[in-house]
Symmetry: C2
Subunit: 341 residues, 2 copies
């Protein structure tokens, strides 16, 4: 298994006694190369198992055809499905993606961006980490003139394309569903307000509560990291209230499953004593019992749209990126955890 040197254009050129320029053009079907030469070149290329050196062509062309993707984690059906669909669309156009995870950490997100810039990606498609408040590292991408596109977790003031669902409306929809089920005291375990989407969910919750004249108390609205563990903890906090809620809307399925487990342990009946709604429609919401009502975010559409929007950007690069929101309608999937009627 000698570390065989890779075949280069030069090798083919030498074999055929023509210039590397001719070989390159032949392989790219340049009109000014005779079909006789093209055939000969392709034959030898196949014979020598020639594969172009991406580094060299990317360097020369100033274009790597790589797209960086940053997600908080891949271990979630939502992100994994977004990525898969994005990849499908981008692959067809000759782009490959590099997937990186921020693990919800601000520092890791910064490092990840440096890595991607270093790898000379042609653009970055990202969903922000929970921890992220400061946007300097994203500004850095923009300042280098590299197209940036955000999905799901994005911030308006970055002024880049954004694709996501209408969080405000989704929250509204959830609260009205719970009211329709006869719930009168609805709590919300939300994400941190500094994240736009969670802030919107909180606003939607508050407005819907107000609209229907339900109690709108401080103690019913709790911010959380939305991890499974924290969902459990925050649910415990709600259970310790003098006046317990009769419904809890949790802004993430992961936190919701933690909460559900606690309720089960404490023998609190779901949905009769407390109705439960999650967010994200992760597969496990349908696996547990009672199955958890949740919101489908149409990850496959988000992925495909993100890719298409990116491709448009590549086709006609503008000098200035703008905030251009694409908002999809989410869908409430009603399951046993909130079905009282």
């Amino acid at each position: 298994m000698a570390n065989k040197k890779r075949t280069t254009l030069k090798d083919i050129a030498l074999r055929l006694q023509i210039s590397t320029a001719a070989v390159s053009k032949a392989l790219h079907n340049d009109a000014r190369i005779s079909s006789k030469t093209k055939e000969a070149v392709k034959k030898i290329a196949k014979e020598l198992d020639y594969q172009p050196n991406h580094l060299a062509s990317a360097l020369r062309k100033g274009k790597s055809n790589l797209v960086g993707v940053i997600v908080p984690r891949t271990n979630s059906n939502f992100f994994s499905s977004v990525i898969q669909n994005m990849e499908e669309v981008l692959n067809k156009e000759g782009y490959n993606i590099i997937i990186t995870q921020s693990n919800e950490s601000y520092q890791k997100e910064c490092e990840t961006i440096d890595t991607l810039l270093f790898t000379q990606v042609d653009g970055i498609i990202a969903s922000m980490a929970n921890e992220t408040i400061d946007l300097e590292h994203y500004e850095k991408i923009k300042s280098k003139g590299i197209p940036l596109l955000l999905f799901d977790r994005g911030e308006n003031n970055l002024n880049v394309d954004y694709i996501g669902i209408d969080d405000y409306a989704s929250s509204h929809m959830i609260v009205e569903h719970l009211i329709a089920q006869g719930c009168k005291r609805i709590a919300h375990i939300g994400g941190y307000r500094h994240t736009r989407i969670f802030n919107n969910r909180i606003k939607g919750y508050l407005d819907a509560i107000a609209k229907h004249g339900l109690p709108l108390e401080q103690e019913l609205l709790i911010e959380s990291s939305l991890s499974k563990e924290d969902g459990r903890e925050k649910m415990n906090q709600l259970l310790s209230l003098k006046q317990k809620p009769d419904a809890v809307y949790i802004a993430s399925d992961y936190a919701a499953i933690g909460a559900l487990q606690l309720l089960e342990e404490k023998n609190i009946k779901v949905p009769d004593e407390i109705a439960l709604v999650g967010f994200g429609n992760e597969p496990f919401t349908a696996m547990v019992s009672p199955a958890i009502t949740s919101v489908e975010q149409h990850s496959s559409k988000i992925g495909k749209l993100a890719a298409k929007t990116f491709l448009e950007h590549m086709r006609k690069p503008v000098l200035k990126q703008q905030l251009n929101k694409i908002i999809l309608n989410a869908e409430l999937i009603i399951r046993d955890s909130s079905k009282r009627m």
Copy 2:
């Protein structure tokens, strides 16, 4: 937002009226560059926000410092955790990883390998797709002299390093656990035999059954794609037997959850009528009720070990890659789905 041209060594060299060679060496702390020059170079580099062009240096050095990772999917706790741990170790040594998914498809796996080779990765760490039988595309990696390392799903006859658990022993352990719980007719929904790990699990199952003198019938051993849907279907097949099993060991948690849902729908009591064991210890096995007994594969260890083994390979490249197996002990996590005593 003018598409600012990136700073290059040349820009720094021009500013200081020295050669690009001197700048390059200064940035790499070459001993033959005066500290005065080094300081000046670093100052200007910072001022101009210089970031080395990875494509150029990789091309020149013939080393990209990129490692390609191929997994069947990222949307599983096992693979996601392996990746995360692998990344951690590799990042520390200056390597970055490119994650790709085969989606369990042979064709996608081939494409993915081409992409990675094209991107000039320094090595590939992979877990094979379910569909994969033919190994030609993996041989291609080896023939290019690029280090290949397999984990979890690997094949002996590729003769490369492998890291995984002892599937045979794990199966054995599961069957003996079920026997200890009083089960007398144990079925196995396994993966396809052509995949080494699934074949080993089947062998472990058969040997353990034989060892304890239990019925070893054709109809109790079913091969499956191990998806959630197929788990459901194959469980249905087992339920239609004249003599139903009193325990089913399923080679994947995903198939196990499908099976569990069917059992629930049919009002069959788990574990009393049928005890259930999965494989992989995915988080949802602890979320559902009854919680599913499963096998923890120590994904974090596998990830770290894979990375370390790869790094060793990079340090002292040998001419010939060899089969060098690292086998970890798996751990049986006993939960309600199989607890009869």
